[in-house]
C-alpha cells in the first residue's frame, strides 16, 4: 500500500474535462515529481487531491483511507498539506501567526511549540522576522514561510505547487536545497514543477502530465534520459 494513491481521477472545470483519468502513487519517504506544460492539469490535480475541487470519478486514498469526499480542512487535518502555488501567505498576519495557522488542526500546545522551533531552525531567516507582517517579506522569504507553514501541520505528505516560480535563480537553488533536506528528514513530497531539470534532480520518480493524461511515468533518472522529456521539458535537442 502506498502512502498516497490517486486512482483514475476525472475532474471538470465547469464543462471542461481537465483530468482524464489520472492515476499516481507516492510511497512513504519518496519525492515524486509531476512535470508538464502550462494547462496540462498539474494544479488541478493538486486541488482535487486537497479537496478544493471534486473529482467526478475516481478515488484518492491516504494511508488506505478514502478522502475523495472529505472537505479540504479535514483532508489537511489528516496530514495531506499543500504549499500552494504563488506562496499565498497571509499578508496581514505576522510570520509567527502564519505559522500558527499552519498548525491549526493540532491542539497540543507543546507539539505546536516543537514544530515552531523546528521551522525556525530550518529557516533562521523567519525567526529573525517573526514579528514582521508577512506581506512585507521578499518573495524568497515568503516561499520559506509558505513551506514552514505547511510543515507546522506535521504533514504525512507535502504537496508543493511550483515552489520555484517567480524566484531569482539563486533562491531557486535554496528552495531545492530545502527540499533535499526535508527528504533526508524523511518527509514525503509530491512536487509539481515547471523547472523540470531541477525537479528531476531531487526526485526519485516522476510522472509526465499532458492534457490531463499521464503519458509517462518512470524513475527520475530514466526520465532525464528520455528523448521526449529532453525535447519538451529540458530544452535539449
Amino acid at each position: 500500500m502506498s502512502l498516497l494513491e490517486i486512482e483514475n481521477v476525472h475532474t471538470y472545470y465547469g464543462q471542461i474535462h481537465t483530468l482524464k483519468g489520472v492515476s499516481l502513487t507516492v510511497d512513504q519517504g519518496e519525492i515524486v515529481t509531476l512535470i508538464g506544460a502550462n494547462g496540462a492539469g498539474k494544479s488541478t490535480l493538486l486541488k482535487t487531491t486537497s479537496g478544493l475541487l471534486r473529482p467526478r470519478e475516481g478515488s484518492i486514498r491516504l494511508e488506505g483511507k478514502d478522502l475523495t469526499h472529505d472537505p479540504p480542512h479535514e483532508i489537511a487535518a489528516k496530514g495531506l498539506v499543500q504549499v500552494p502555488e504563488g506562496r499565498r501567505v497571509f499578508g496581514r498576519l505576522t510570520v509567527t501567526e502564519n505559522l500558527e495557522m499552519g498548525a491549526f488542526a493540532i491542539s497540543d500546545q507543546k507539539l505546536i511549540k516543537e514544530n515552531l522551533d523546528r521551522v525556525f531552525q530550518l529557516f533562521p531567516r523567519l525567526k529573525e522576522r517573526h514579528k514582521q507582517v508577512a506581506g512585507t517579506l521578499s518573495g524568497g522569504e515568503q516561499q520559506m514561510l509558505a513551506t514552514g507553514r505547511a510543515l507546522m501541520a506535521n504533514p504525512r505528505i507535502l504537496l508543493m505547487d511550483e515552489p520555484s516560480m517567480g524566484l531569482a535563480p539563486i533562491l531557486v537553488d535554496g528552495i531545492f536545497e530545502i527540499i533535499r533536506k526535508l527528504h533526508t528528514d524523511g518527509t514525503t513530497i509530491l512536487l509539481v514543477e515547471q523547472n523540470a531539470r531541477m525537479a528531476l534532480q531531487v526526485a526519485g520518480r516522476g510522472y509526465v502530465l499532458q492534457s490531463g493524461v499521464v503519458v509517462l511515468s518512470d524513475s527520475a533518472q530514466n526520465l532525464r534520459q528520455n528523448e521526449m522529456v529532453r525535447n519538451a521539458y529540458l530544452g535539449e535537442t
Binding site: P71, P72, A76, R87, R92, L93, M101, V133, G135, Q142
Partner: protein, 353 residues
C-alpha cells in the same frame, strides 16, 4: 513634470477635490465664526463630547458586525440593523416584567446583567439564523444576490418583529441607579452616558483582544484574507464565518441595550438609522478593518454631536442639530474623496509577488 501631473489627474478628480475643498472651507469658516461668537461655553462642549462618545461607542459596536462579516464574506449584511433591533426589543419584555415586579429597583445590577444576556442571546440567534438560512445557500452566487437577499431579510425581520411585538414605541423602564450625574471638577457627566461609554469600551477591548490574540481570532483574520488557503491549513471556513456572525450579533445585542439605556425606547424600526450610521462608520474606518470600525464609530458619533453646533451655528443656520445626519454623511463624502480606503483601510500594500 507638469505633463505627468496632467496625465494622472482626471477631470473627475478636479471636481471631487473642488467639492471637498468647498466643504472643508465651509467647515473652517463656520467653526471660526461659532468660536468667535462664543455662544457655547466649555460646559456645552464637554456635554457634546460626552454625548458624542456615548453615541459613537454604540455605533462602533454595531459597526463591528458589519466589518467582520464583510471581512469573511465580502458582503454587506444589510440585515444587521435588524440583528441590532431584535435584541433590545425582546429584552424589553424582560425589563418591563422586572420593572412591574419591583425586581429592577431591588436588584438593578442583576437585572441589567440579565437584560444584557437576553438581548445578546436574541441578537446572536437572529444573526446565526440569517447566516444559515439566507446567506450560506448563496455562498457561491454572484455578489449582488446575497446583497439583495440581505435587504429582503432586513424587511422580513422588521415586519416579523412588528407582527410579534406591535408597531408602537415601547418605553424602556428607567433604571434608577443610572439616573443623575457625577461631577468631575467643574464638569458634570450624566451617569448613564458614562456607563454606556465604559461598557462599550470594555466590550471593544475584549473583542479586539479576541481577534488579535486567540487562535480563533487569528483564524478569522486568516479566513478574511484567503478562504481557500485557510481551508488548506485545516481551518473550517463555515465555522469561522458563523463565529463572525456570533460575535457581530453579541456586539449588536449589547449595543442595543446601551441604546435603550440612552434613548429609553424601542421600536421595530429602531435599527434602521443606527444601522446605516454604523455601516457608514465601518466604511469611514476602512471596511473589513476591526480597529477601523471602532475608530470610525467614535469619530462619527463625535462629529454628529459636536459638528452641528460647531460648523453650522457660525454660518447662521437655525436649529443646526436637525442637520446632524447631513453632517454625518458629509463626513463620509469627505473621507471617500480624500481617502477612499477609509481612515485605516489597507495600511500596507499586500504584494502578490
Amino acid at each position: 513634470m507638469l505633463k505627468r501631473w496632467r496625465e494622472r489627474i482626471t477631470p473627475t478628480d478636479v471636481v471631487m477635490w473642488f467639492i471637498g475643498g468647498t466643504l472643508l472651507l465651509l467647515m473652517f469658516w463656520g467653526s471660526t465664526a461659532t468660536l468667535i461668537e462664543g455662544r457655547y461655553t466649555s460646559h456645552h462642549w464637554f456635554d457634546f463630547l460626552i454625548f458624542g462618545l456615548a453615541q459613537g461607542s454604540i455605533y462602533a459596536l454595531i459597526a463591528m458586525g458589519y466589518t467582520m462579516v464583510y471581512g469573511t464574506l465580502r458582503m454587506i449584511n444589510f440585515a444587521h440593523s435588524e440583528v441590532f433591533m431584535s435584541g433590545p426589543y425582546t429584552a424589553y419584555f424582560v425589563a418591563a416584567a422586572f420593572y412591574s415586579s419591583g425586581f429592577l429597583d431591588r436588584q438593578p445590577i442583576l437585572s441589567l446583567i440579565f437584560i444584557f444576556l437576553v438581548s445578546m442571546a436574541t441578537s446572536t440567534l437572529i444573526a446565526v439564523l440569517l447566516e444559515r438560512i439566507a446567506y450560506r445557500p448563496l455562498r457561491t452566487a454572484p455578489r449582488l444576490v446575497p446583497l439583495i437577499t440581505a435587504i429582503g431579510a432586513s424587511f422580513f425581520l422588521q415586519y416579523t418583529f412588528r407582527g410579534l411585538y406591535g408597531s408602537g414605541f415601547q418605553a424602556y423602564p428607567v433604571v434608577k441607579i443610572l439616573e443623575g450625574e457625577w461631577m468631575f471638577g467643574v464638569f458634570r457627566i450624566l451617569k448613564f452616558q458614562a456607563v454606556v461609554i465604559v461598557a462599550a469600551a470594555l466590550l471593544m477591548t475584549a473583542l479586539y483582544l479576541f481577534v488579535q490574540r486567540t487562535r480563533m481570532g487569528k483564524a478569522i483574520r486568516a479566513v478574511s484574507e484567503d478562504k481557500e488557503i485557510s481551508s488548506l491549513m485545516g481551518i473550517d471556513i463555515d465555522r469561522m464565518i458563523v463565529t463572525t456572525f456570533v460575535i457581530g450579533g453579541m456586539a449588536a445585542g449589547a449595543a442595543g441595550v446601551l441604546y435603550a439605556v440612552m434613548f429609553k425606547q424601542v421600536h421595530f424600526f429602531m435599527g434602521f438609522i443606527p444601522g446605516i450610521k454604523a455601516f457608514t462608520a465601518a466604511v469611514l474606518g476602512g471596511i473589513g478593518n476591526i480597529p477601523g470600525a471602532m475608530l470610525g464609530g467614535i469619530f462619527l458619533g463625535l462629529v454628529e454631536s459636536i459638528g452641528p453646533s460647531l460648523f453650522l451655528d457660525g454660518l447662521g443656520i437655525v436649529a443646526p442639530y436637525q442637520l446632524k445626519d447631513a453632517i454625518a454623511f458629509i463626513m463620509l463624502v469627505l473621507v471617500l474623496i480624500f481617502r477612499p480606503t477609509g481612515i485605516l483601510g489597507e495600511r500596507l500594500a499586500i504584494k502578490k509577488a
